[in-house]
Symmetry: C2
Subunit: 306 residues, 2 copies
Amino acid sequence: MKLRVIGCYAATPRYQTHPSAQVLETGGHLLLIDCGEGTQMELRRYRIRLARIDHIFISHLHGDHFFGLPGLIATFQLLGRERPLHIYGPKGIREAISLLLRVGETRTRFALEFRELTSTQPETILANEKLEVSTLPLNHRIYANGFLIQRKPGMRKLRAGVAESLGVDKAYYRKIKQGADGVAADGRTIPNHRLTEPPPPAASYAYCSDTAYKPELAAWIRGVDTLYHESTFLETEARLAAETGHSTALQAARIARDAGVGRLILGHYSTRYRDLEAFRQEALGQFPNVELAEDGKAFEWSAGQD
Amino acid sequence: MKLRVIGCYAATPRYQTHPSAQVLETGGHLLLIDCGEGTQMELRRYRIRLARIDHIFISHLHGDHFFGLPGLIATFQLLGRERPLHIYGPKGIREAISLLLRVGETRTRFALEFRELTSTQPETILANEKLEVSTLPLNHRIYANGFLIQRKPGMRKLRAGVAESLGVDKAYYRKIKQGADGVAADGRTIPNHRLTEPPPPAASYAYCSDTAYKPELAAWIRGVDTLYHESTFLETEARLAAETGHSTALQAARIARDAGVGRLILGHYSTRYRDLEAFRQEALGQFPNVELAEDGKAFEWSAGQD
């Protein structure tokens, strides 16, 4: 998986900070997660091909997470897009986007497919042969979801030596890699687990922003390779974090620790802070593998490694 | 008047070009004219104090002219604004902005005062002791207005020597400067024009974007000091300009010439062009005083000079 952080700062703008947006590349897909104002300009800055984005996930309807979406859709239209665009976000997003396009008399040639979210329990919202995306209901001032993105495991790995020595017909190898039992030359059924090894583990990513400290998250994202968890504040502002539905770096690290994730990326910093290293230091007290998101920073990982 | 061009490119984004927005400073007011996506970041870049913006004029509801407005309003709220904010734009703007704020459960502490525009004839939409703003209905694909901003003329200038020699009571000087006749020491009424000279001319500015070539504009903006007129295309794309409701540089210059303006600023360039000098050259064939808007460029003028 390749992650490009487009913007990782909270709402109050400071020159040269960008609101939330990320692009995750996995299984041939480019997934856009949140789309703060100016995202389309930043996507161009990083030479990300807009035409490859088919799925956009919006965590919640505060402006710093979706005010870039209408402009991006208008740009898709100007660029002649024809492929459907899938947008996942809280109930209300369809009406808001539709009205903005309607007052500009913009009709898209491509289909805008909205999936409006209301559940307070995790649910699978996208599943295809390459990946699965589920919601992670968060605890913010308004209805918000994080997103868990998991590559689908590949096929099981054939133990070719074993299969050959038993005289299993090669015509059945594919079915066996998909999980079927085999038949030996002497007619005996050979259970699948003797003929195959488990598939290589599949990479995964969890995005949790914006949210107050929510311990249930740890169970939902258990063992994920990389977790992006908001840390709008430091512990010195823990009360403000609780009041505004945000987390501190320490709380983000507790989620990472309790979930046993591979790596924690911190982000969504309040623009009041100048020194981001303080966020890393605070988190390191709870969890050993902490990185700092920065606008434009890229991360890459495979399953089971960081 | 001081004009800061925030963005002057048409919609299709190219890295490092910004959509339409301008700030005009005059008579102690900062007027924001159009507000494309990313305007709030650019206002910060140029260190323009957001709190001084009380009036925002939106020409039309295409995204590249107003998708920065919801984010700017949300930022005003985050910054603790209390003063009312006046927004002038086509009918529909109130509903669009209100819905965007509502889905984010954002309630502004300050009053949002919308003036929704529908007239196809010029009308005065703001008048105070310092300035007057009128609409300039344009000819675009959707309902659109330019804006004419005129400083109010000051008081007439007293001919102090004449007034003294006639023995006019100094207590009446202020009324005389406001246009009243005077009374000489011998009781004769002295007509105002003998006691005063006309006030110094007041600076003016016209913003015309987006619009196809519309000859009537010339009459409405006669003698204005500075005209910003869109030139999305060059004459080589004249047909495309007509089809899309835009102007060429040559057409913009014809308006400037027919209106006898002091200076023409070209802008709203299609991002297909790399060489802006071609726009200036095309316009210079019709009108002698042509400048090119560029993102971030500043202009300053007084009445009667450029």
